[in-house]
Symmetry: C2
Amino acid sequence: MRKYRVIIMPREGLLDPQGRAVAEMLQDNGYSVGEVRVGKVVEIELPEDIDVNLLAQKYLINPLIEDYIVEEATPSS
Amino acid sequence: MRKYRVIIMPREGLLDPQGRAVAEMLQDNGYSVGEVRVGKVVEIELPEDIDVNLLAQKYLINPLIEDYIVEEATPSS
């Protein structure tokens, strides 16, 4: 098994109301933040012979509205 | 400004119904997946003098039920 982290973000240019809410909350608390975007992350353990990119594209992502990146996660101890 | 990625996961040992739903869906489609956990990610641009860990602990995380890690994100082009 190999452990991956699939990070799924709203596509650039699409509205991200959650991100905007976080940005406004931080600004209201005195932080001069730049852009904030909120997405989701799926940590998944897969057999070595499974292509995590294919699986993500087929089952985890909506490519119309989401972009994603895959990281190899450090194995949990 | 510096761009960070705050990855927020349900704490180990807590129920993660979203993660279980994804695992079952993949198993139903023939994948022998191991553990799956679903969390959220906040990409945030902050001035260099802001401590992203303090900000995350104070405003982004519920430490009773969530763990987090911070990564430096590659700057958007």
